[in-house]
């Protein structure tokens, strides 16, 4: 129980954080993440540079992501193992939500 719970405190992720973490399954720099979030979310989520910069520092402090490359002044980040675990659990949660949602939807 203790093992699983250590990831629970990060959940649920905000929509923006969810898409940011999804983007960082492979190394990506800031602007790449901003564009990718826009694409992955089909334009429903926008991340401004102020918000992204703050998210990077927070996620790095929480050790969910790590800086893997710095080219000139551009930093690239990637998920850590801990970040992968948190993201996996978020996806499981969304599965539950989606499954029941699909069942109820026809009644609406």
């Amino acid at each position: 129980m203790a093992k699983i719970d250590s990831y629970q405190k990060y959940l649920p992720l905000t929509e923006a954080t969810y898409y940011i973490l999804l983007s960082l399954v492979e190394p990506m720099h800031g602007y790449g993440v901003m564009q990718n979030v826009d694409t992955l979310s089909e334009g429903t989520v926008k991340v401004g540079p102020g918000t992204l910069y703050g998210a990077f520092s927070t996620l790095e402090q929480e050790k969910l992501i790590v800086m893997v490359k710095q080219e000139e002044r551009r930093k690239s980040y990637q998920l850590t193992e801990k970040g992968r675990q948190v993201l996996r659990r978020q996806i499981e949660r969304l599965d539950v939500m989606n499954k029941i949602g699909q069942q109820i939807a026809p009644l609406l």
Binding site: G30, Y31, M34, G48, P49, G50, T51, E72
Partner: protein, 175 residues
């Protein structure tokens, strides 16, 4: 001779930074674009074609070791960095009709901006108190007079902190 630059004096309080952003936007619509910031309240503008510039102010200290990466991120996203005043970073971007670009796209990160501002004010507080206790203990008339002015400043300082806290709690209600 046509003037190509002009200086304007206008004072904004930190909790009203969105009013300042709106004012700069209106100036640009009239063809006056912010060129540089010299001193608090002193804005230098450059004459040009009217443009739909959107201005945004961030609060991040330039002493931050990550500052260059921070500026790069904004530049990549299309935001032009015009200048710094204290820890206020001035950015602008050209927007199309009806578009309202934001540097903070959710309330929780916007709240963090004001929390950084609060931290900054709190850090300087002890320094003022030490200074204050030194002058109020003095025998000199002049020092006492300075002390009165300073006390007034302290009241204002407290008011500023209160206004920023109110702004934070207002944003929190929208979470």
């Amino acid at each position: 001779m046509d003037r190509t630059t002009c200086k304007k004096f206008k004072w904004f309080w930190a909790w009203n930074d969105h009013k300042e952003e709106e004012w700069l936007q209106q100036m640009s619509q009239g063809g006056w674009h912010l060129k540089s910031l010299a001193l608090p309240g002193v804005y230098e503008f450059e004459k040009g074609e009217p443009r739909r510039y959107v201005y945004r102010l961030d609060f991040v200290t330039s002493a931050n070791k990550d500052y260059q990466a921070y500026l790069q991120l904004f530049a990549d996203a299309g935001w032009q960095h015009i200048g710094v005043l204290g820890s206020w970073q001035y950015f602008r971007i050209e927007a199309s009709e009806g578009e309202q670009p934001e540097i903070y796209t959710d309330n929780s990160s916007k709240i963090q901006k004001y929390q950084r501002l609060m931290t900054y004010l709190v850090i300087f507080l002890p320094i003022y108190f030490i200074f204050m206790s030194n002058i109020t203990n003095s025998e000199h008339e002049l020092m006492r007079a300075i002390g009165v002015v300073f006390a007034a400043f302290m009241v204002f300082y407290a008011y500023a902190m209160l206004r920023i806290l109110m702004r934070i709690s207002q944003l929190k209600k929208q979470l």
